[in-house]
């Protein structure tokens, strides 16, 4: 009986591991499908890293500093030009400086839009990475399931094979006993 018990235990262990691997793979695939539906609905799977406060405050600061420096340089150039020309255009100077401010604001708007477009693309890729992440686990679990079912198949083959042997032996002995009884009679 030990051989059938061992084979049966082996079958149970292999089945248990197969079930775990199969269940986890299914769970991962289900999560992947949920993620894809989220993307299809035009929503993010996870948080958009390009909308985090830390990131935005930094890039806004960066852009603001660049624009301020550029605007101040332009205004200083105007002042120098006005001085060099003996103050002939003094009345137009404030208007020209104001125009620089306006243009700087417009440029700021444009730069922000450009960065937003870049961030949008980058976030799309990041969301695809998050959406597909469960597939990696599912693939490994699929391999584990394959191994587990192979192990279970072998154990089952052993179990049924040994059970057949047991019954064949019982039948053989019974037949032999009957034959011996007949010969003795």
């Amino acid at each position: 009986m030990a051989r059938t018990t061992t084979a049966r235990n082996q079958l149970g262990a292999a089945n248990s591991q197969s079930e775990t691997a199969f269940g986890n793979a299914q769970q991962d695939i289900s999560q992947y499908n949920t993620n894809m539906k989220t993307l299809e609905a035009g929503k993010n799977v996870g948080a958009n890293p390009f909308q985090s406060a830390g990131y935005l405050s930094n890039v806004n600061k960066l852009q603001n500093e660049g624009l301020t420096t550029s605007a101040n340089t332009g205004k200083a150039n105007l002042d120098r030009w006005n001085t060099a020309t003996g103050g002939m255009n003094r009345a137009q100077l404030p208007m020209a400086k104001r125009n620089i401010n306006l243009q700087t604001g417009q440029l700021g708007n444009t730069l922000t839009s450009q960065r937003n477009a870049q961030d949008y693309q980058a976030n799309l890729q990041y969301q695809q990475y998050l959406a597909g992440a469960p597939l990696a686990g599912a693939a490994i679990n699929a391999g584990l399931y394959g191994t587990g079912t192979g192990l279970a198949g072998n154990a089952l083959s052993n179990l049924t094979g040994t059970q057949n042997d047991v019954w064949n032996n019982v039948v053989s002995t019974n037949n032999q006993a009957m034959q011996a009884a007949a010969m003795a009679a």
């Binding site: 061992t6 053989s172 009884a181 003795a184």
Partner: protein, 211 residues
Amino acid sequence: MGNWGAPIGVGVAGGDPLTVAAWKAMGRITAPRTATQKSQLGIYNSQGNQAFGGAQQALGQYNTNIGALTAGRNVGANPYLAAPYLRNVNQLQSQGMHAGAEAGKAALRSRPGLNQSGAPLTIGNNALQAGQLANTLGSQRAQRDYLANLQWQQYLAGSPLAGARINAGLYGTAAGGAENALNNYTSAQSNVWNNLVSTNNAAMQAGAMAA
């Protein structure tokens, strides 16, 4: 299935069935090979369980990591916020800025004294601009570091998969070993029982012929 410990053929007229002692004696002869195979099976099963458990644990960690990224959190520490890194890049930037500002001031001082009264103001302005530039450079580096950290966190998140893949391979090998050991074990056990039954049958037949 019957009691295999009892003598087979008892009650058969003229039979000389195997006794319990004879069965045990045969069992002792064949026991070592089946014991070895069973022991081998146990080792492979233990290793297989360990590999399977390890793979599942790694996959669980991977899922946890992806959960952290999905929630907008870091999986591990941001290396670009480490004190030694920041100290070094700040020092690097500071030295570069300082050298640039000093060179500018020196150039202003070296000019003939026609703008003597304006020079201190220009030098002051130079220092101010250097400070603003430092601010800007710091922000530029912070933006690069932010993107680099995003990649680093993705690397950290996926790192348990490497161990899981190796454990999956180990599980496959252990399963193959266990299959082989089980095949050997049941085959050897079958041989033992077939031989015992064959011997018992022969004994019964001989007894019947002698009667």
